[in-house]
């Protein structure tokens, strides 16, 4: 019964995709990008940042590329994988899109993967960060990051910088476990010791008991991964419980100090060291212009989700230029492989083997800016051209 259903669905999609090729005579001069993002729900800030960044890019670079007009169709999946799948089906079958893009969380990106394979269209992942995603379809290309990239780097950095004992606090879901395992692997290989390991439920109302446990374990630092939205709550309770005064530092991948929320976290967050791909304070001229333009249009600071969206749409534009407007999915993915460019976050490229992003990972410390008095992640060390170590180790 189940197999039959899957088969007929696959057949229907294949048939419709075939029809789409015949019926799209008029659609020849437009390229449609189906953007599936969480625009409502707990992950909505991710969706909004990516959408904003894409609007900004299209304002700056025009909406035609290689003689074709680019049309963006946004669908809200509220970060629920079932909805992602439905949205992707509608976009592919009814709207006949040439790309699907976005994907706020890992399960959403995975839910759309088989559809991208069947319909042979590129799936551009602009947010979700679990390593396995790009292995699930040869049509997936990622412009965001993997948690392995930042977690291994912070593990190395901590081991090299006199941090001996670390307690970990990570959210109990796939990205959290990725962050924890990759950190642990590199940190212990560097001679460090993980003295306490706590996984907190994703929907966690109160960090107090977990933090008390951290405090009693008396580590040099706590390694933290919580989804971006929970960072503020975590930092507040960290300070309330006096862990900062007890000399316990916070380290982690940069999600906890996302630019989006950082400025509201209060002084307790100052001194937090994270490894991440992007800071709004990245000192390149390109980034200064990007931040200024984004702030002007949307009255908020761009975070790493915004820059991933900005690079994602850039990748789509450049791939279309390279194929001269040919929208064949396989050719587009081929065109994307190995592509290199300068992003507001620094130099990046697409790994031709894994279709995952290669980028610099920066070690940053939170400090108050002398010019505008706001809190920023200030970069002080660079690990250049970091591949996704989650895959290369295999």
């Amino acid at each position: 019964m189940f197999e039959h259903k899957t088969f007929s669905r696959a057949a229907a999609i294949a048939a419709l995709a075939g029809l789409a090729g015949l019926a799209s005579a008029k659609a020849e001069d437009t390229v449609k990008v189906g953007l599936i993002l969480p625009m409502t729900g707990g992950q909505a800030s991710t969706g909004k940042q990516i959408e904003n960044a894409i609007k900004l890019y299209m304002k700056q670079n025009g909406d035609t590329v290689a003689g074709k007009k680019v049309e963006i169709i946004v669908k809200d999946d509220a970060a629920i994988p079932d909805k992602t799948k439905t949205a992707a089906q509608e976009l592919i079958v009814n709207d006949k899109v040439n790309f699907i893009a976005g994907f706020g969380v890992t399960p959403a990106a995975l839910a759309a993967a088989p559809l991208a394979t069947q319909a042979k269209i590129p799936e551009i992942v602009m947010a979700a960060g679990t390593s396995i995603i790009t292995e699930r379809s040869p049509y997936i290309v990622r412009t965001s990051f993997t948690l392995a990239q930042s977690s291994t780097i912070i593990g190395d950095w901590a081991a090299q910088n006199g941090i001996k004992k670390v307690a970990t606090l990570t959210s109990d879901y796939a990205p959290g476990n990725d962050a924890l395992n990759f950190f642990k692997q590199n940190f212990t290989a560097g001679g460090g010791e993980v003295v306490e390991e706590v996984k907190v439920p994703l929907q966690n109302p109160d960090f107090a008991p977990f933090l008390q446990r951290m405090k009693d374990a008396k580590p040099d630092a706590i390694f933290v991964f919580v989804p971006a939205g929970q960072g503020g709550n975590f930092m507040k309770q960290y300070a309330e419980r006096g862990l900062d005064k007890a000399g316990i530092k916070v380290i982690g991948p940069g999600d906890v100090t996302d630019d989006d929320l950082l400025n509201n976290m209060g002084d307790a967050v100052i001194g937090t060291v994270t490894a991440h791909l992007y800071s709004a304070a990245h000192p390149s001229q390109m980034n200064k212009d990007f931040v200024a333009a984004y702030k002007k249009d949307f009255n908020s600071r761009p975070g790493f989700m915004a820059v991933s969206g900005y690079d994602g749409i850039h990748l789509i534009y450049e791939a279309l230029k390279k194929t001269n407007g040919d929208t064949d999915g396989t050719k587009l993915v081929e065109a994307m492989k190995g592509m290199k460019w300068e992003s507001p976050r620094g130099p990046i490229s697409i790994d031709p083997e894994t279709r995952d992003i290669i980028q610099n990972i920066y070690i940053r410390r939170v400090a108050r800016s002398k010019t505008d008095g706001e809190l920023y992640n200030i970069e002080f060390q660079v690990f250049e051209a970091v591949k996704d170590l989650g895959k290369t180790k295999k």
């Binding site: 909505a44 800030s45 109302p205 939205g229 503020g232």
Partner: protein, 289 residues
């Protein structure tokens, strides 16, 4: 040893907070026999009012707290008079459908007006941090919660047991027909009680922003906790929910501290065990009304 006491303190604070948030629900569900799943929406309203007054209009935190109570109570009384009262005589399923709809509307409305990201209330410096009392870490904010909620509980118990209004309410609940025959204006008593419960939720919402986090999904995220408090405590008095809140608060904190792997399930395990032992809750009446 000291960490046991710190955990106990945290647990009591968490429990007290749960009580203030949920006791309005115990009143509507237990005393008025109305299933109000939108209870969390009133808590959220109070939280956002407090946040706007403090962060955007520069009100002191302690002045904004009563306003959170008043605004939620006002919203409560308006909705009670216009919408809720038509549903008192309807089946529980109708009430559930109506109030869950109201909850979704409140979530969407707050998301639209305030955005979906989590908000914080700027606290005065006096409420931040921890101090040591004989080696036991006492969080200032949590201490304040215990004081406020403790006074409220005593006050509530006094009002219910000792005042004329309290006896009218109890009479109205026990036998509405006989009560109105004695000249008690039953709908008015219920409206007032409902508004008061909403006000308490509003106050709880404002207090919980710091600890539980405040965002537009608050009413959905914490609905389950309110319901656990009411089911475990039984809904025929306020002593039941009060003790249940404390028990669950302490159990939850201790569970997360001592068995972090099992932490999130402790609260549910406790609920299941208690309900098997006493299906009507710790202090429930044997005959369900």
């Amino acid at each position: 040893m000291t960490s046991i006491l710190t955990n106990l303190f945290d647990g009591v604070a968490y429990g007290m907070l749960l009580f203030v948030l949920a006791c309005g629900l115990a009143v509507t569900l237990g005393l008025m026999n109305f299933v109000n799943l939108a209870h969390g929406a009133f808590a959220m309203a109070g939280g956002y009012v407090c946040m706007l007054l403090v962060n955007q209009h520069g009100w002191p935190f302690f002045a904004a707290l009563p306003l959170a109570f008043v605004s939620s109570a006002l919203i409560g009384i308006v909705l009670e008079r216009t919408l809720y009262r038509h549903l008192y005589a309807r089946s529980h399923l109708d009430q559930v459908l109506f109030t869950i709809g109201l909850t979704f509307m409140s979530v969407a409305a707050v998301d639209y007006i305030q955005g979906s990201s989590r908000v914080f209330i700027n606290l005065p410096a006096a409420l931040q941090g921890q101090f040591d009392l004989f080696g036991v870490g006492i969080g200032r904010y949590r201490l304040m919660i215990i004081v406020i909620c403790g006074l409220l509980t005593i006050g509530l118990q006094m009002v219910l047991a000792k005042t004329r209004f309290g006896s009218r309410l109890r009479a109205a609940v026990d036998d509405p027909r006989a009560a109105s025959g004695l000249g008690i204006n039953v709908p008015q008593v219920f409206a007032f009680t409902f508004a008061f419960g909403c006000g308490l939720a509003g106050l709880g919402g404002a207090l919980s922003a710091e600890i539980l986090g405040l965002d537009p999904y608050f009413p959905l995220k914490f609905m389950i906790y309110f319901l656990i408090v009411v089911t475990v405590g039984g809904s025929s008095s306020i002593t039941g929910p009060f003790l249940a809140s404390l028990l669950l608060g302490i159990g939850d904190v201790a569970g997360k501290y001592y068995v972090p792997k099992m932490g999130p399930f402790v609260i549910y395990t406790m609920m299941i065990v208690i309900l098997i032992w006493r299906p009507n809750g710790l202090f429930g009446r044997t005959a369900a009304r």
